[in-house]
Every structure is written in structure tokens, then in C-alpha cells.
């Protein structure tokens, strides 16, 4: 990729004060990611891994403790007032639940118009034209315009929410689980909308999700996050074909199969336990407490990120072996208590 990234996140940290006095929750810990114009990038991980906090910090809904967010090379933390507001417009957020992200008392037209007013479109005629255009872009019939958002189905509401975020001509959309609240038969429609927006408008999309199959098909690259840190990053093809961090391997292996002929005979490895508390993360490698490959050294220092092939990195001592297929985290385990 020779283009400059539209969004660059450098060594970002987001810490929250813990209820335990004097302690901090390290929700996002030294994360660096890049987004190029017009690409969909996946961010996957279990709940509590900090993926939503990362998204919220990027758009400024949470305050970063350290690190930088660069939009077209401009450091957002160096801006303030009108300049910051202008830059931030290029960064929009699509929330998970379209039932709480829209005002029930507004009509669809009002909801979109409001976004346009905030975006600074003064002329009513211009706003009217843009509203029509936006409804069309997200695949809603113009008749929907006069209906209240509460009358719409989940899929339609999510389309309205997307239309609102597109109102300001953003360059980057941060989509936080945008289809998980939708019914299965509707998800494809909204996913295809994202694919089209990316192609037609060239919007870059950070797609935060826990549904790995969905991310694989939509995203060109994927970041895997565990306990506040990026543990693996690569093209979708590389990452799904040759996952090289034990966590990614186990995460991919835990997705259930629909075909009962495969599922019933799969006695695959089970991930042990759950994500540890980010208040007291394990020393060294964060994943070592659940990792079948962990050795004593893993507790001593954070494993450095290893480059396995161009664009594919994994933060594990054994990454090279895992990538070559000489080792695997997918060893048979007995179901044990967490």
C-alpha cells in the first residue's frame, strides 16, 4: 500500500480508574493500528478485551491516557475547538443497538436533517436534497422519511443510523458490532450496505465485531485484540488460513459449525476460562494464563511482535513455529473448570 493511511493510531492507551483504590483498568494498552482509504478492517476479540474502548477513544468518546490518533496525518490531540470539531466530523461512529441510538420521537427525515444541521448545511433545500440522497444510499425508500423511527424494524433503524453518520461525508466509520442486534436474515442486507459504501464512497471502515466469519468475509485486514493489546494482525486470508498466535488459533477454533456431521465429531480444544481482569493483567504475555503453549519465560516479559510475512505480525514467542505449522495451540484438552 503506497497510499498514506487515513487513520493512524499510535501507541494508544486508555486507562480507567478502578474501584480498587490506586489501581487502573488498562482497557487499551499500547495499541497501534492503521486504516487506509476505502478499506474495511476488522477488529475482533472477546468482550472485555477493549475493542469498543479502542473505537470510542479513536472518535473521542473516551479520553486517551497517552498515544496519538492521527487523521490524515493531523494529530487530533493537538487540536481544540472548531478545528477539532471539523476534523472529528470525518470520523463517525455506528453503534451496536439501533434501538437506543435513535430518538423515537423523531421521524426519519428529522433524524437525518438534524445530522445535516450539525454538519453545517444551512440551506433547507440543500438539506432536503441530501436527505433524499442519503436515504437512497442506505437503501431506504423515500416513503420512510415521514415515519417515526420507532415504527421501523431493526434493520431499517440501523440504516437510518448509518445515513446519519454519512451525513457529514466522513472518511472513516467506526462500526461497533453494527449487525449483532439484527436478525440473521437481515444481517446480510446491512453487511452488503457496508460493502457498497466502501466501494462507492471510499469510506474506510473499522469493523469491531465478535463474529469471526462475518469479519473474514467483509474485511481485507484483521486485528486480533486480547486484554487491551493487539496480539495478531494480518490480511484476512493470512490470518484465517494461518493464524499464528495461540489466541487467534483458539478463537477461530471455537466458532461452532452449522453442519452437524462436522460439529458432532469435533472434539476440538476448548478455550479455558475467561478473560482475566484488566485491572490486574497477568505479567508478561497477557494470554499465558489460558495458553496451552505457555512456558515460564512467557511470564517475564511481553513477547515482542514478530513479522511472519509482509503485513502479518503476531506477538508470541512461538509465532514463527505456529506460522510454519510446526506447532499448534489446538491440542486436545479435557474440559476443566475455569
Amino acid at each position: 500500500m503506497t497510499q498514506a493511511p487515513v487513520l493512524k493510531v499510535e501507541d494508544l492507551q486508555t486507562r480507567f480508574k478502578s474501584v480498587q483504590r490506586g489501581k487502573f483498568v488498562h482497557a487499551v494498552d499500547d495499541v497501534s493500528i492503521e486504516l487506509y482509504p476505502g478499506e474495511i478492517v476488522g477488529l475482533v476479540g472477546e468482550s472485555g478485551c477493549g475493542k469498543s474502548t479502542l473505537g470510542r477513544t479513536i472518535v473521542g468518546l473516551e479520553k486517551a491516557s497517552s498515544g496519538r490518533v492521527l487523521l490524515d496525518g493531523v494529530d487530533l490531540s493537538a487540536l481544540s475547538g472548531a478545528a477539532l470539531r471539523d476534523s472529528r466530523r470525518a470520523l463517525q461512529y455506528v453503534f451496536q443497538d439501533p434501538y437506543s441510538s435513535l430518538n423515537d420521537r423523531q421521524t426519519v427525515g428529522e433524524a437525518i436533517d438534524e445530522a445535516l444541521v450539525i454538519a453545517g448545511t444551512r440551506s433547507p433545500e440543500e438539506r432536503d436534497r441530501r436527505t433524499k440522497e442519503l436515504l437512497d444510499q442506505v437503501g431506504l425508500a423515500s416513503a420512510v422519511r415521514d415515519r417515526h423511527t420507532r415504527e421501523l424494524s431493526g434493520g431499517q433503524r440501523q440504516r437510518v443510523a448509518i445515513a446519519r453518520s454519512l451525513a457529514v461525508n466522513p472518511r472513516v466509520l467506526i462500526c461497533d458490532e453494527p449487525v449483532s442486534a439484527l436478525d440473521l436474515s437481515i444481517r446480510a442486507q446491512v453487511m452488503n450496505l457496508f460493502l457498497r459504501l466502501q466501494k462507492d464512497l471510499g469510506v474506510a471502515c473499522l469493523f469491531i465485531a465478535h463474529d469471526l466469519a462475518l469479519v473474514r468475509q467483509a474485511a481485507s485486514r484483521v486485528y486480533v485484540m486480547y486484554l487491551g493489546r493487539i496480539v495478531e494482525h494480518g490480511s484476512s486470508k493470512e490470518l484465517y488460513d494461518r493464524p499464528s498466535h495461540p489466541y487467534s488459533q483458539m478463537l477461530l477454533a471455537s466458532a461452532p459449525e452449522v453442519d452437524p456431521r462436522i460439529e458432532k465429531h469435533r472434539r476440538g480444544p476448548l478455550m479455558i476460562g475467561e478473560v482475566p481482569s484488566p485491572t490486574n493483567p497477568p505479567s508478561g504475555c497477557r494470554f499465558r494464563t489460558r495458553c496451552p503453549l505457555a512456558v515460564d519465560d512467557c511470564a517475564k516479559a511481553l513477547p515482542p511482535s514478530r513479522v511472519l510475512s509482509p503485513g502479518h505480525t503476531a506477538a508470541c514467542t512461538f509465532a514463527a513455529d505456529l506460522h510454519r505449522g510446526n506447532r499448534t495451540a489446538l491440542v486436545q484438552q479435557e474440559m476443566s473448570a475455569p
Binding site: L184, S254, P256, D259, E263, L270
Partner: protein, 331 residues
């Protein structure tokens, strides 16, 4: 396995009346579950899958008048028309429940141990001391480490997966014959989901219970269930053994649902497959096939009358689609 099903539902219809509206979330659905068997009921939100299981057991919100017709037999005993006091005795005793969100299913201000023991005390008629012992046994059964210490903890001190294990322990405390699990893994991560599903399957086999697994996720069905009922807009669209229905779905809706799941072979960046349109909103019963407006196979006749469930060329699979069933007699 006995010949008599443990739970037999025949032609169940549920009408809900509120001050403002009347809806029919369940419209003439039949199914049965035998001891030691797991039945999955799959459907989208609003398809009636939850109401169908909860209404006959009196678990409906207040302010709603529930009218039931048809027959629901548990161990040969008719539940419809049974007084609330009798149904109350069944809940938790003969039938155990697992709900989607373990945090709201637990009492936040009482210790885990007490919440489990309470169930044993209430339903098994044992002394408090024996109930405490039973709680310990159950916590071990659901695979929780350090069980003695866990019993003294409060729900907020536990992770989502551990909480769901506690909810399962509570459901098992009354030694139920039937376990109804409503989206038991939806609130959990994929890694924890696999653990909980395996646990459910394991206790169901060990205790030889019947289980009804209500879910919207086709992915959790394959590993856990023996039979499946696919619901669409208050009616059963297709039912039969999981091995057959998931492998070669016959009803266009089942086909669409399975087809909508992204596959490893799908090229990166390719279009997602799905069903066109949106599911109908809950309201008056639909005259013809509810899927007709979204269905590729639909012919004008589909909108005329409600398609009956008909035995397909595989006698174990029943399908409610006039096009698929052309030339076959109703079951």
C-alpha cells in the same frame, strides 16, 4: 428411551391480549420431546419461539391476558387449563429454566450458595443443611473450580460464563425432567459459549433429561440438539432430525437461514447472502404462507391458505411449503 414423549405439544395457539391490541405469537404449533432428547427451536426475534415455551407454564408479563388453545402434555398431564397453583408446583421442579442473561436471572444481593440451596429446599423437601450439601454438589457438577469459596460469593463477583454456570446449577437443583434453555449462550463470548454448550449437553446426558433449546443461532444447534423446529412468524416452517434438516434443508426459509451464514469458501469482500425483505410484524394471523413476500419459490397460490406441515420424501422431516410439497398429502 420411553415411547411416550415427556413433553407433547399439539396444535398450540397463543393469543395475547393487552388493553390496546391482540396478537397471536404462536399459531398452531406441534412438537414433542422425549426423555434424554434435545429439541432446538430456532427462529428470529418475534417468531414466537419463547412465548410458545413460556406461556403454557404461566411465565408471561403482567398486564397481558394470555389465551391458550391446543394441548400441552407434560408426562401425560395436560397443562392447559391447569390452575396457576398447580403450574407453580411444576416450575423449577419438573421443569427447569435457563434464561439468556445470567445477571438478571440471579439475585444480586444474595450469596450464590443460598440461591441454589433455596431451590433444593423448596422443591426437594429437604433440610436446609441437606440443601447446602446439594448446592455444593451442583456447583461441582457444573464444573466450577474452588466450589466451597464460590458458594459464598455474590453474582457480581463472577464472570458471565461463571454466572451462567450458576444459573444452570439452579435450574438443575429441583431435579427437573425437562430443561428449557432460552438463548443460554447468546450473552456469552464464542469461547465461553462453546464451554457452556458442552456443559449443557453433558448434564443433559448424564441426568437423562429432556431439553428444549431456544435459539436464533443455527451455529449452536448442530452440536447440541437431536431434533429441530424452525419457526417463522408464529408457525413451524420445518421440523425433523437435526442431521437431516441442517444438512439438506427443504423449506425455503430454512434454506435461506443456513445459506445466510458466511462460509470459509466465500471469497473475501464478496456479497453476503441473505433473505430479501423483512419478517412480518406480529399482528393478526396471516392468511397464506407468511414467507411468501420474501420467497423466491412463491406462486400466487401461496397467499391463499396457510400451508400445512407435510411429510417430505424423508418421512422424518415435515415441511410447510406448498411448492416443496406439491402433490403430497398433509401429515
Amino acid at each position: 428411551m420411553h415411547d411416550e414423549p415427556l413433553l407433547e405439544v399439539r396444535n398450540l395457539t397463543v393469543n395475547l391480549l393487552t388493553a390496546k391490541s391482540a396478537v397471536r405469537p404462536v399459531d398452531g404449533v406441534s412438537y414433542s420431546v422425549r426423555q434424554g432428547e434435545c429439541l432446538a427451536i430456532v427462529g428470529e426475534s418475534g417468531s414466537g419461539k419463547t412465548v410458545m415455551n413460556f406461556a403454557p407454564l404461566g411465565l408471561m408479563p403482567t398486564g397481558v391476558t394470555t389465551m391458550l388453545s391446543g394441548s400441552v402434555k407434560l408426562e401425560g398431564r395436560e397443562l392447559i387449563g391447569l390452575p396457576e397453583a398447580e403450574i407453580q408446583k411444576l416450575r423449577g421442579k419438573s421443569v427447569g429454566f435457563i434464561f439468556q442473561d445470567p445477571m438478571s436471572a440471579l439475585n444480586p444481593v444474595r450469596r450464590i450458595g443460598r440461591q441454589i440451596a433455596e431451590m433444593a429446599e423448596l422443591h426437594l423437601d429437604v433440610t436446609p443443611r441437606a440443601a447446602e450439601a446439594r448446592a455444593l454438589e451442583l456447583v461441582k457438577l457444573v464444573g466450577i473450580s474452588d466450589p466451597v469459596a464460590r458458594l459464598r460469593q455474590y453474582p457480581h463477583e463472577l464472570s458471565g460464563g461463571l454466572r451462567q454456570r450458576i444459573v444452570i446449577a439452579i435450574a438443575l437443583a429441583g431435579e427437573p425432567k425437562l430443561l428449557i434453555a432460552d438463548e443460554p449462550t447468546t450473552a456469552l463470548d464464542v469461547t465461553v459459549q462453546a464451554q457452556i454448550l458442552r456443559l449443557l449437553k453433558d448434564v443433559q446426558r448424564r441426568l437423562n433429561m429432556a431439553m428444549v433449546l431456544i435459539t436464533h443461532d443455527m451455529g449452536v444447534v448442530a452440536g447440541a440438539a437431536d431434533n429441530i423446529v424452525v419457526m417463522y412468524a408464529a408457525r413451524a416452517a420445518e421440523c425433523g432430525p437435526v442431521d437431516k434438516v441442517l444438512v439438506s434443508p427443504r423449506h425455503p426459509y430454512t434454506q435461506g437461514l443456513i445459506n445466510a451464514i458466511p462460509r470459509r469458501e466465500d471469497p473475501i469482500g464478496s456479497e453476503f447472502r441473505g433473505l430479501p425483505g423483512i419478517p412480518p410484524t406480529l399482528g393478526a394471523p396471516i392468511k397464506g404462507c407468511a414467507l411468501a413476500p420474501r420467497c423466491e419459490l412463491a406462486v400466487p397460490a401461496c397467499s391463499n391458505s396457510r400451508p400445512p406441515l407435510v411429510r417430505s420424501d424423508d418421512s422424518a422431516v415435515l415441511v410447510a411449503c406448498p411448492v416443496v410439497n406439491q402433490g403430497k398429502a398433509a401429515a
